[in-house]
């Protein structure tokens, strides 16, 4: 199973998470998002970029409360909550945002 775009073929597992996370690119993110019926607005990029920089530093996806706190800081308290995250990613920030961000499937996420 693989994502295909602009002549690239990038393998993924049965749930759509990348087999080799180093192959991620913003173009690939758009392709993954398309499969999730997600349009990559600026707000969604904000979340995806935060996930990537957190993963880069700690080698793990952030706890939800870390993500909401970061959003509150960058986008105002009205957006630093679970409801806002689920508005952006209806199937959940872990399942959808991490997938689009090219992170491994988060630990403990059923």
């Amino acid at each position: 199973m693989a994502y295909q775009y602009n002549g690239h073929t990038i393998e993924h597992d049965e749930e759509g998470y990348l087999t080799d996370i180093s192959l991620w690119s913003p173009e690939l993110a758009l392709e993954i998002a398309k499969g999730e019926n997600i349009e990559m607005t600026e707000e969604r990029w904000e979340v995806v970029n935060f996930l990537r920089s957190y993963y880069d530093e700690y080698q793990v996806a952030p706890a939800i409360r870390v993500l909401t706190k970061a959003l509150a800081k960058s986008m105002g308290p009205a957006k630093g909550n679970n409801d806002y995250l689920y508005e952006l990613f209806p199937y959940g920030p872990a399942k959808q945002a991490c997938k689009i961000a090219g992170l491994p499937k988060p630990t403990g996420c059923v």
């Binding site: 706890a63 679970n82 872990a94």
Partner: protein
């Protein structure tokens, strides 16, 4: 990142928190124990239990500074210990005797901090140096001890 609250697999109704201690005794990369322990810790922390970690025997090497796994083709998960504070895990007990028996001091360990939400989110050290006798007391206070 756990989504227990929104998914069907929500935990049973709130009970009193239990104290979990994860005991790490092995070097980080020779076996899968260290990584497995860390992953279970992250899961347990997501269920809002009171989780702390202990490092003894060769387990103290899990926290050593400057780990580089490029040569062995394994993911370097050492940075993840620094994220534990974000998951509400704020106590990493390190046994003094285990350090000194290996010629190590606390200077050889990476710095791990957490933000204390009861004190203006100040960064505070998570690593607690503790001698063998005191660690035994900590163990006696736990509801659950898991050894890796």
């Amino acid at each position: 990142m756990a989504e227990a609250a929104k998914s069907g697999a929500a935990p049973a109704p709130a009970k009193a928190k239990k104290k979990f201690l994860y005991v790490n005794r092995k070097a980080p990369y020779g076996t899968i124990y260290a990584l497995e322990s860390l992953e279970v810790v992250l899961i347990a922390a997501a269920f809002e239990q009171e989780v702390s970690l202990a490092f003894l025997d060769d387990g103290v090497f899990q926290l050593s500074k400057g780990q580089d796994t490029a040569g062995i083709g394994m993911k370097c998960f050492a940075p993840t210990y620094r994220a534990l504070g974000d998951f509400g895990v704020t106590k990493l007990y390190v046994e003094k005797e285990a350090l000194s028996e290996r010629g190590l001091t606390v200077e050889d360990l990476q710095q791990v901090t957490y933000e204390d939400e009861n004190d203006g989110f100040k960064a505070k050290p998570s690593i607690v140096l503790i001698d063998r006798a005191a660690l035994a007391k900590v163990m006696a206070e736990q509801d659950v001890i898991l050894s890796f």
